[in-house]
Each structure stands twice: as structure tokens, then as C-alpha cells.
Symmetry: C2
Subunit: 301 residues, 2 copies
């Protein structure tokens, strides 16, 4: 029940019909927006992402291709009478940038806007369904990745067997938590006779913009899917280093060392018209690699 | 040699594949950008407007649908090594909004950025080819329209006749200005024997966002083409009044009273899926009306 939908997969300058970074992580019907480059709200319309369902937005860093669409989205939420509180997580200066623009508009927002300043290795959201953490990456300016960890799912009731055994509804929650049922007559109904295991919770991580740095491995270790940037092909390793970005082989090496299950690559430089070579180079190191393609949803199994 | 290309014709919320306000006024090969809603740089790519040719940007007011794309465009100019100075004309707070965002990016811009604060009834550009003025409109916040007046063109040389008459090249500029030529032997070659009149300079005006207000008429009087907003159809006249916008009949009435030649209408509310009714209502009052259609260039004759 965890998935990610790509809204923008390009680096700084839009090109070849590719857009700046944005993606939507969906868990059990809740949408979390990660980065919000210019035009994100238009991409949401194009790919039928329900804007009204968003109440948490995570901004990795303040290079424009990761946040210039945020003010427009907030403004649109206001015009569309969005009611839910909106929580925005980003580097400290983001609050002032947004607030100064809201002030000149003289607009009334019909919802509360909460700014949360990112710090290294912090837990941003922690509820019964999901834990969302952030971790620093190594970029030219302050930058964070985000990890999304589903909580271990409750056991699934085999409802006909539960009913046949005469277990009262008031005990269902205990059954889902794995308890056996003691009958009024002193018998035991073993939990695994009337329930089955759900899938374990899945883990997705977004590694933002970063140069090759193994220090992120501990944050994405054994994740089910990881997005890692590959701004350049491997022959531009020096340029990547200089600009605090990564290449195909570098992203794939991180994936391999972190023992993740699937790698998603994106943030392609606008110098590249086509992307096949990205896939070839990354798969050579880490076979379970996919291109982050705009409009596509990746289910995390 | 004056034309306008529409990049965005919708009001605040993008919808039905219509985008927020932006247009390019082109005069004799120079592009002037008027307003810059979110996604303008992407629209420029789509409609093959040469970004590199822009060195003047005019922002009517600080509602987001008229300027949220500006910071992204400036950033892209930087990344693409734009060399020309860039002049930005807008309400005073725009400078701080842009500068704070450039500062957090820690980006180096390879060109100079000049901010010019708009005041009522000012001349913004005045050179041998064009005069660009601004004038206040009546909107919820400080807002300006812009007029583009070509200077009267020089006379056109009939080059074969000029050569046959033996007029030296050094006198060509005087011929273009309308002077007769005195031959060394004391004869006169009348100017209209060797030149012909060019078309007069044309005038285009962009009336930004505004409620119905006849005070703009003096600024657009007898213009060859005027863009006037029509956010609503005429049955929503009360809503237009309340929100400081105009309807079809109101825009057309201004056009008629100002004795302009052609009216272009735009800034359509996102409540309207189709636009035919806008044209019907406006033409009922002022027949020479066209819809501002994205991607279309309107030559001003």
C-alpha cells in the first residue's frame, strides 16, 4: 500500500518535456508531496493526483528546481478552499520566502500553514501507519533526503472462521495484534487459526540531490525502494563531483552497498535528450533499477 | 513589425490546459515579456519563443498568477549563461521577493539584474524604436497596465532611384528623415521622388487585471490593439465588481469608448471549460474582438 508517483524527473532547466523535481508518495490513501518544482500543480492536473488529499509537503533544499512551484500550489489550495492544515517541512529560509509572497498578495488562506525546519536525522511524522524521517545529503547547499517507513501491518482477520469460533467483536483488535482467544469455557483458539499475516510494512527513501556519499547508506539500508539522483552519465564523474551531483554508477553503487531491493533513478541533466544509457549503466552495477518516468506510479512490494 | 504572442490566458488557477498570464510583445526583433505566471518558461519552450532575446520583463502586479514564474526564468537565464542585462519592472516588493530567493540558492548570475519600481503614468523605455509606458488599473492590489508605442517609422529608400540620382550614401539617413537633396550643381531632388512612406508606428496596450474603469481610456485611446481582461461572462457582473475583475461586455465597452481597432480578451476564470460565449458577448458590443489563445501570435496592423 506504499507507492510513489513521479511528477518531475529533470534537473534544473526544464527540457525535452521533462519537468523539475516533484513526486508523490502514497501510503494507504494519504498523499505526501516530496519537492515541488515549478509547474508541479500543472503536473498534478495532468496526472490526476488529487491535490485536496495533500497535507504534508517535504522540500529537500532551496535550489529552485525543487521548490519554485510551492507558492503557486499553496495559493491554489487557498483559491480552492482547501480546509485541512498544511504542514511544510524544509530548510529554515523557506518560511520567510513563502510568507513574504503571501503577504503581498493580501490573500486569506482558509487553512493553517505550519512550517517545520529540517535538522539532520529527525523524525518528521510518526503515527500508527507511517514514520517519516529526514537525513542530510551532501550537496552544494543544505539538503535533506526523506525516508518513509510503513508500520508493521496488523494481522488480517479470517472473518468467517472468527465468527464460527464465536469470538466477540470487542476482541477483534486483540486478534489483529496477534493475541490468542480464551473461550468462556476455558478453551484456547490460537491466533493463527483465525487470522493471517499481512505483508510487512515497506520502506521507501528519497535521496534528494547529493554527491556520492556512503554516509546515507545507514538511512536507506535494506529499503524496498530508493530514489537516488543520477544527474549525469558516468563519463561526467568529474563534473558530478564538482557540482555535488551523482552519476549512474555512483547511484547504483550506493544501492548495492545499501542492499536495497529496487532503485529508481532521476534528476537527469537537461543536456540529455534520451535516457536509455542511464538505465544501461546503472543496471550494469545494480540490475533492479528503473528510470523515474513522469506520470508513472511505482508500487513498492 | 509589432506583434503579441500569448503564453498564458487563464486566471488564477491553471485549468483546462490553460495557463496563468504571460505574453510576449515583439517589436522589430526585440521580445518584451509581459507578466510571468508559473510555467512561463515551459510555455516559451513549447511555443518556441527565444528566451535569450529577452532583456525587459514587465510585471503588472503581485498576484501569483502574474509573477510566480519569474524566479524560475531568472534562474534558467543564469544556468544558460544569459549575458545581457535584465531589466525588471514591477511593484516595489518584487525586488525583495526575487533577491531573497537568489540569495538562498547561492547562485551566481552572469548578467546584471536591474529592478525598476512602477509608479503611475511613467515612461519605462524610450528609444528610437519604441516608447513603453505604464498606467494604473483598478484592482484589489496595486496593478499596472503597459502600452507599447512604435515610433513613427523612417521613410523607405527607393534604392535604384536613389543611385540613379547619384545621391551619396552619407545622405541616406537624411533622405529617410524626409529631407530633399540639393545636387552639387544646385538642383533639387524632391524627397518623395526617391523614397516612399513607411507604415506609421503601431500601438498595443495590455490592461492587466482591472475592474471596469474608464480612467484607462486615455492610455489606450485609438490604439491598434488592446488586451483587456474578461475573467467572467456578463451574467457574473456582480462577482466581477466584487473581485475587481471585468466581464466580456465591460471589456468591449472600454474598447468601443477608447475607439481602438482590435480587442484581445483573456484571463478567463477556471470555472469555464469552453470560451465561445466570451467571444459572442464581447463581439455583440465590439465586433473586432479576438480570444487570446495560447501559442497564437497576433500581428498588429
Amino acid at each position: 500500500m506504499l507507492s510513489v508517483t513521479i511528477l518531475g524527473n529533470n534537473s534544473a532547466v526544464p527540457a525535452f518535456n521533462r519537468h523539475p523535481t516533484s513526486q508523490v508518495v502514497t501510503q494507504d490513501g494519504t498523499n505526501y508531496l516530496v519537492d515541488c518544482g515549478e509547474g508541479t500543480q500543472i503536473q498534478m492536473i495532468r496526472y490526476k493526483v488529487r491535490r485536496g488529499k495533500i497535507s504534508h509537503i517535504f522540500i529537500s533544499h532551496l535550489h529552485g528546481d525543487h521548490y519554485y512551484g510551492l507558492i503557486g500550489l499553496i495559493n491554489t489550495f487557498g483559491l480552492l478552499s482547501h480546509q485541512q492544515d498544511l504542514h511544510i517541512y524544509g530548510p529554515a529560509p523557506l518560511q520567510q520566502i513563502i510568507e513574504i509572497q503571501l503577504k503581498v498578495t493580501e490573500a486569506y488562506l482558509p487553512f493553517h500553514l505550519h512550517f517545520h525546519t529540517l535538522t539532520d536525522n529527525a523524525t518528521l511524522v510518526d503515527n500508527e501507519k507511517i514514520r517519516i524521517n529526514c537525513f542530510k545529503t551532501t550537496h552544494r547547499i543544505e539538503c535533506y533526503g526523506f525516508s518513509f517507513e510503513e508500520k508493521i501491518m496488523k494481522r488480517k482477520l479470517l472473518i468467517e472462521k472468527v465468527r464460527k469460533a464465536g469470538i466477540p467483536v470487542s476482541f477483534y483488535t486483540s486478534l489483529q495484534s496477534g493475541l490468542d482467544y480464551l473461550t468462556p469455557k476455558g478453551g484456547i483458539i490460537k491466533n493463527d487459526e483465525v487470522t493471517m499475516a499481512s505483508e510487512n510494512g515497506k520502506k521507501y527513501a528519497f535521496c534528494a540531490d547529493t554527491k556520492y556519499d556512503e554516509s546515507i547508506i545507514e538511512h536507506i539500508y535494506e529499503a524496498d525502494m530508493v530514489y537516488h539522483e543520477t544527474t549525469y552519465l558516468d563519463n561526467l564523474r568529474d563534473k558530478a563531483e564538482e557540482r555535488f551531483h551523482s552519476t549512474t554508477r555512483q547511484a547504483a553503487t550506493i544501492a548495492k552497498k545499501a542492499k536495497i531491493k529496487q532503485l529508481l533513478i532521476g534528476h537527469f541533466s537537461s543536456k540529455y535528450n534520451t535516457l536509455e544509457q542511464f538505465l544501461i549503466e546503472a543496471r550494469d552495477v545494480f540490475p533492479d533499477t528503473e528510470l523515474a518516468t513522469e506520470g508513472k506510479t511505482y508500487e513498492i512490494h
